[in-house]
C-alpha cells in the first residue's frame, strides 16, 4: 500500500508530530523509511487507525482522524501492549501440576514450566475428558465472560469458548453481567424493556428540546471514550452543542466528575448509597405540593396508589420528606425541593448511570428513578424522561438502520443448562450444593472442578480478591488463555499464550447504537513468540474431542470473515465487494434523517393502547404483581445499605470507597502499557481523597497510602483534591493486582487493585449482582519501606523444553 507523504504527515499529529519541522536531510531519510513501510488498517475498542509496519515491527500507530473525531491517547499504547514484557511467550504449566502433585495451594506461588503446544492441549483434553466421564459436564466451569478482550466478530473470546464447550455438551456458564446485573433482571417487568442497553433519545432531540440534564452518576465524557466495538467519539462534538444550547446540568455524584466540570454542572454532593432516599424526598415534595403530573401517572402507569402510602409513611410510619432524606443523603432538603421544581418546570432528562445499581439494593435504583420520572411526567417527550445508557457506547447517535456485521455464535449443545449470576463466581466455587433464588428461579451450585478462563481476568472484575484467590486454590484445574501475564494468568495451572487483536485478521462494527460502520481489523504483525489465535486453540481442542468441524463450521477464519461480511447491507445492498472493503478497511453507512428523530418511549406516549409496553398491564409498573408474588414489597423502597456512611462500622472504616471506570484503560486492559502507567501515582493506582480529609490524616498529594478494611488492604498513590466530597475515596477499577508476598494469606496489594476491598455479597436476593460500590474502608499514610509494584512482570518461568 502506498502512502503519500502529505497524508502521512497529516495523520501523524499524535504519532510523529515533530517530523514536519525536521531539516531536509532527515525528511529525505524518513521518506526512504516510509517507502519501506506498510500501512495497515485496523480498529478496536479505542478507535480506528492505520498501523505503519516495517519488518514485522510496528513503526507507528496513526489514528484515522477522518473517522474518529477525538482520537484517544490509548491508541499510542497499543504497540507497547504487543511488545510488552508481560506477554506470555509460550504455553506453560505450573510446576507441581505438571509433576502430578496435588498442590493447589501453590497456585500463584510457584514457577511455571514451558511445554509444547501439543503437551498443553493434550493435558487440557485429558483433564476435561476425565472430569466429564467421572462427574459430567456440570463439573466444568466456563468463566470466559463479557467479550471485552476482543472487539472482532470472529475473535470474540467468550463466544469462541462457549462454542467450544457447547460442542462437547456444555459447561456451567454465566448469566447477566457485572455492569448492569441488578437492573437487567428487573426492568423488563417494569418497563417491558431492558432499558440499560437500549437505544437512547438522539442528540439532535436533546439539543433541540432538553433544558435540564441530570447526570445521576453519569460521566458522559469519560465512559463514552471506549467502545464495545469501535468508537468514533462524535459524542464529544455533541456535548459541545449541548453546552451551546444552554442545557443546565446538575450532577448528583460524590465526585465532581470530568463531565460535571466540563458542562459546568451544579454539583450535588450526595452521600454514596443514599440515592433512593434522595429520590423519595423529591417525590414526597412533588406530591405534597401537587407539582407532580397526575395525568401521566393515571394514563401511563399502574400501582401509584400502592406506592403512595409508603411515600407518605402510612405503611411504615416514616414520611419520606426532604427533611427525612436530608439525614440520609447529607444534601439539604432545600436542594431537593429546588430540584423538584426545576425538574417539573423544565424539559428534564435524567441520565441514570449504572454504578448506582452496583450496590446494596441495586435492583431498586432504576425502578425508583422510573417512578420519579413518571411523577415528573416527561417520559416519551422529546428530550425529557430518563435514559439509562447515555453514558455508554456513543449513545445518542442516531442509528443507520442498516445491517452491519453479526458474529459467530456459541450455538446449541449445552446440556448442563446451569447459568450462575455473573458475580457469584466465588460462591459457585466455594459453596457447592448451596441454593439461591435467582430471578425467581431456584438455582443450586454444582461442584465445579475445572475452570476455564479465556479473554478476561476474573481477578480484575470479581469483587473481594482475597476470597476469589482462596476459591481458585480449591479448584482441581484452572486453565487461562491470555496474551499477558494478568493476575489471573499467574494463578493458573495451564497457561496458553494468545495473539492480540493486532496479530490476527478480523471484522467488526462501529458504534453500538449508531451501527455506522464496518471495519476490517487487518493483521498488523505476525504472532509474537508462540502465541496463537483463540479460534485456533479451541479448534485444536475440539479436534481432540472429534468435534472440529462442529466448532469450525467447516470454515477457516478468513472464510468466516468473508461470510460475516456477506450478510451485511454493505455487501447486499451497497454491493461493495469484500476485497474493496478489506483494502479500504472501512465501509460507512449514511444516517437517515428519520433516525435522528428518535425519542425513547415516544411511541408509547403517543398511543399507550396501540403501543402498550410489554408489561402485564401494558403500562409502567410502579407496582409489580410479579415481585409481590415472589415475596417482595412490589414497589421500590428505601432500605439501608449494608455498608455505607450510615453504618456503625464507620467507627473502624470511616470512608466510603467508590470504584468508577478508569479514563486511561478499559477495565484491566491497557494497564500494562505506558499510557496507564503515566497516570499512576508513585507507581500505583491513584486514590482520590478530599483536601480536608487528607489534611486531617496528614496525607499529602503523591503520598503512598494504605487503604484497608476487613477484606484486605492495598497501597495506592494519594491524589488530594476538592473534586471529591469529604468522607469518600475513589480508586478506579482495573489496576492489576499484585500481592507484596504471594505466600501470605490476604497479602497487601501493592498495585492498588480496588477489588481487594470490595464486598462480594449479592446486591439483592433477586438479582444476585455485584454490590462493589457499597464498601467502607480506612486510609492512612503508608509507613516503612514501600515495596515495588511488580504487577506487570512475568512470574518465574523455566524455559527448558
Amino acid at each position: 500500500m502506498k502512502v503519500s507523504r502529505r497524508s502521512f504527515l497529516k495523520g501523524t499529529s499524535l504519532g510523529l508530530g515533530g517530523i514536519a519541522l525536521a531539516p531536509l536531510s532527515v525528511n529525505a531519510t524518513s521518506n526512504v523509511l516510509l517507502a519501506q513501510t506498510k500501512r495497515i488498517p485496523h480498529a478496536n475498542h479505542y478507535g480506528p487507525f492505520f498501523a505503519y509496519v516495517k519488518d514485522n515491527k510496528i513503526f507507528d500507530i496513526v489514528p484515522r482522524s477522518d473517522l474518529d473525531k477525538k482520537p484517544l491517547v490509548m491508541l499510542q499504547g497499543l504497540t507497547d501492549r504487543v511488545e510488552t514484557r508481560s506477554r506470555i511467550k509460550y504455553p506453560y504449566v505450573r510446576k507441581s501440576y505438571l509433576e502430578g502433585k496435588d498442590a493447589k495451594s501453590l497456585r500463584g506461588r510457584e514457577e511455571f514450566v514451558r511445554v509444547s503446544w501439543k503437551e498443553a492441549l493434550d493435558l487440557i483434553h485429558k483433564k476435561i475428558d476425565t472430569i466429564r466421564k467421572e462427574d459430567g459436564n456440570k463439573a466444568l466451569y466456563n468463566a470466559s465472560y463479557g467479550g471485552w478482550a476482543h472487539p472482532g466478530k470472529l475473535g470474540k473470546v467468550n463466544t469462541l469458548a462457549g462454542r467450544f464447550f457447547n460442542t462437547i455438551g456444555g459447561a456451567v456458564k454465566t448469566s447477566g453481567d457485572y455492569s448492569t446485573g441488578s437492573s437487567t433482571p428487573v426492568l423488563p417487568s417494569i418497563m417491558g424493556n431492558i432499558e440499560v442497553y437500549s437505544k437512547q433519545t438522539t442528540h439532535e432531540q436533546i439539543v433541540a428540546n432538553t433544558k435540564v440534564m441530570i447526570l445521576w452518576g453519569s460521566d458522559l465524557y469519560k465512559t463514552n471514550r471506549i467502545g464495545y466495538m469501535v468508537p468514533n467519539h462524535k459524542n464529544e462534538e455533541w456535548y459541545e452543542k449541548y453546552k451551546k444550547a444552554g442545557i443546565k446540568f446538575i450532577s448528583i455524584d460524590p465526585i465532581n466528575t470530568q463531565s460535571a466540570q466540563k458542562f459546568g454542572a451544579q454539583w450535588i454532593k450526595i452521600r454514596p448509597g443514599s440515592d433512593l432516599a434522595f429520590m423519595l424526598g423529591i417525590m414526597n415534595y412533588l406530591y405534597k405540593n401537587k407539582l407532580y403530573n397526575s395525568d401521566f401517572i393515571e394514563k401511563y402507569t399502574v400501582g401509584f396508589d400502592k406506592f403512595l402510602p409508603y411515600l407518605l409513611g402510612e405503611t411504615d410510619g416514616i414520611d419520606k420528606t426532604p427533611e427525612w432524606a436530608e439525614k440520609k443523603t447529607d444534601v439539604p432538603a432545600s436542594v431537593m425541593k429546588e430540584l423538584a421544581k426545576v425538574m417539573v418546570e423544565n424539559r428534564t432528562l435524567i441520565s441514570g448511570n449504572w454504578a448506582i445499581q452496583r450496590a446494596d439494593n441495586g435492583d431498586q435504583m432504576h425502578w425508583m428513578m422510573i417512578v420519579l420520572a413518571s411523577m415528573v411526567g416527561q417520559i416519551g417527550l422529546s428530550g425529557g424522561g430518563f435514559g439509562f445508557a447515555m453514558h455508554w457506547a456513543g449513545a445518542g447517535q442516531a442509528n443507520s438502520m442498516q445491517r452491519s456485521v453479526g458474529g459467530l455464535s456459541m450455538g446449541g449443545g449445552d446440556k448442563v443448562r446451569i447459568s450462575i449470576p455473573a458475580s457469584r463466581m466465588s460462591d459457585l466455587i466455594l459453596k457447592p450444593g448451596q441454593s439461591i433464588t435467582f430471578k425467581g428461579n431456584k438455582l443450586t451450585y454444582p461442584k465445579v472442578k475445572l475452570m476455564y478462563v479465556a479473554g478476561c481476568s476474573p481477578i480484575g472484575h470479581q469483587p473481594n480478591t482475597n476470597e476469589i484467590l482462596k476459591a481458585f486454590r480449591t479448584l482441581e484445574t484452572l486453565v487461562v488463555q491470555e496474551p499477558w501475564w494478568t493476575p489471573t494468568a499467574k494463578m493458573a495451572d495451564i497457561v496458553l499464550p494468545v495473539t492480540t487483536t493486532l496479530e490476527r485478521d478480523d471484522i467488526t462494527a462501529g458504534q453500538f447504537y449508531s451501527q455506522d460502520k464496518i471495519f476490517a481489523m487487518q493483521k498488523v504483525v505476525d504472532n509474537a513468540y508462540e502465541a496463537k489465535d483463540d479460534f485456533w486453540i479451541f479448534e485444536q481442542l475440539a479436534e481432540r474431542f472429534d468435534k472440529k468441524s462442529k466448532f469450525t463450521g467447516k470454515k477457516t477464519q478468513m472464510q468466516w470473515i468473508k461470510s460475516l461480511y456477506a450478510k451485511t447491507d454493505a455487501a447486499k445492498k451497497m454491493k461493495i465487494s469484500f476485497e474493496d472493503f478489506w483494502s479500504k478497511g472501512v465501509v460507512e453507512y449514511k444516517i437517515p434523517e428519520a433516525a435522528k428523530k428518535y425519542v425513547r418511549h415516544q411511541a408509547f406516549r403517543n398511543d399507550p393502547v396501540k403501543n402498550k409496553l410489554k408489561t402485564p398491564s401494558g403500562k409502567i409498573e410502579i407496582f409489580s404483581k410479579k415481585f409481590k408474588d415472589l415475596g417482595y414489597v412490589g414497589y421500590p423502597t428505601w432500605m439501608e445499605p449494608k455498608e455505607w456512611l450510615g453504618s456503625k462500622e464507620v467507627s473502624k472504616y470511616p470512608f466510603h470507597m467508590v470504584s468508577p471506570h478508569p479514563a486511561y484503560r478499559l477495565h484491566t486492559q491497557m494497564d500494562n502499557t505506558w499510557v496507564a502507567n503515566a497516570f499512576k501515582v508513585n507507581g500505583r493506582e491513584p486514590v482520590s481523597i478530599n483536601t480536608m480529609d487528607a489534611k486531617k490524616l496528614g496525607i499529602s498529594d503523591g503520598d503512598v497510602v494504605e487503604v484497608y478494611n476487613a477484606r484486605g488492604k492495598l497501597l495506592a498513590g494519594a491524589v488530594v483534591t476538592d473534586e471529591i466530597r469529604s468522607g469518600v475515596l475513589a480508586i478506579c477499577e482495573g489496576a492489576w493486582y499484585c500481592p507484596q508476598n504471594a505466600n501470605d494469606e490476604n497479602s497487601i496489594c501493592v498495585s492498588g487493585h480496588v477489588n481487594v476491598l470490595s464486598p462480594s455479597r449479592a446486591s439483592s436476593s433477586y438479582a444476585h449482582a455485584a454490590a462493589t460500590n457499597s464498601m467502607l474502608v480506612g486510609i492512612k499514610k503508608a509507613e516503612g519501606i514501600i515495596p515495588p509494584n511488580r504487577a506487570y512482570e512475568s512470574p518465574l518461568v523455566i524455559n527448558k523444553v
Binding site: G192, N193, I194, S409, M410, G412, D414, S419, F512, L613
Partner: protein, 166 residues
C-alpha cells in the same frame, strides 16, 4: 374476546398414539393460516383439535392475553354456531415430538442470540417477558425481521407459560 375451538380433521388415520402433536410446517391455505410448531390435541384417530383465543381480526392466540399468535382464520364462512372452525389437515403435517417441529427455529435462536452472551433458557421467562426482552435485543442483534419472528416464536413456545415444556 372469544375462546374458540378449532377442529382439524385429518385426512388419513393417525399412526401414533399421543395426546398432543405439533404442526410441522406452516399450514397456509385459502381457509386458514396455522403456524409451524402450534400444539394440537389429539381427539381420536381422525380428529385433532386446537383450542385458541380469537381476536377481532380473526387471529388465533394460544393465550387469552393475545401474546402468542398461532394462526389466522381466513374464511369466515367456516365458523359454526358452537364457535368451532373445521378444517382438513394432512397427517404428515404434524408430529408428536416437539423437537421435530421446533428444531429449525431453535437453531435460529442459538445462531442469533448467542453471539454476545450465552443462551438464556426460554423457560426462565414468560411469553410476555420474552416479547420485551426480544425487542430490547433485536436492535442490537443484526437480525432480519423474518428470522427474528421465528426466534421469538421459539422463545414463546418454550417459555415458562408456553406450551412446550422441556
Amino acid at each position: 374476546m372469544k375462546k374458540m375451538v378449532v377442529i382439524l380433521f385429518i385426512s388419513c388415520k393417525l399412526i401414533f398414539a399421543a395426546d398432543f402433536g405439533y404442526v410441522l410446517k406452516n399450514v397456509d391455505n385459502a381457509d386458514i393460516l396455522l403456524y409451524k410448531g402450534s400444539k394440537i390435541e389429539v381427539v381420536d384417530s381422525s380428529k385433532v383439535m386446537l383450542k385458541a383465543f380469537v381476536n377481532s381480526k380473526n387471529e388465533f392466540f394460544f393465550d387469552k392475553n393475545f401474546v402468542f399468535k398461532i394462526g389466522k382464520l381466513k374464511n369466515n364462512s367456516l365458523v359454526n354456531k358452537t364457535n368451532e372452525y373445521i378444517f382438513k389437515l394432512e397427517k404428515d403435517k404434524f408430529s408428536k415430538d416437539p423437537l421435530e417441529s421446533w428444531e429449525e427455529y431453535e437453531e435460529l435462536y442459538y445462531e442469533a442470540c448467542t453471539q454476545c452472551h450465552s443462551a438464556h433458557e426460554p423457560v426462565e421467562h414468560t411469553m410476555l417477558e420474552w416479547e420485551g426482552l426480544y425487542s430490547s435485543m433485536a436492535e442490537q442483534s443484526q437480525l432480519d425481521k423474518e428470522i427474528g419472528e421465528k426466534v421469538l416464536r421459539y422463545l414463546k413456545s418454550h417459555a415458562k407459560n408456553g406450551f412446550v415444556t422441556p
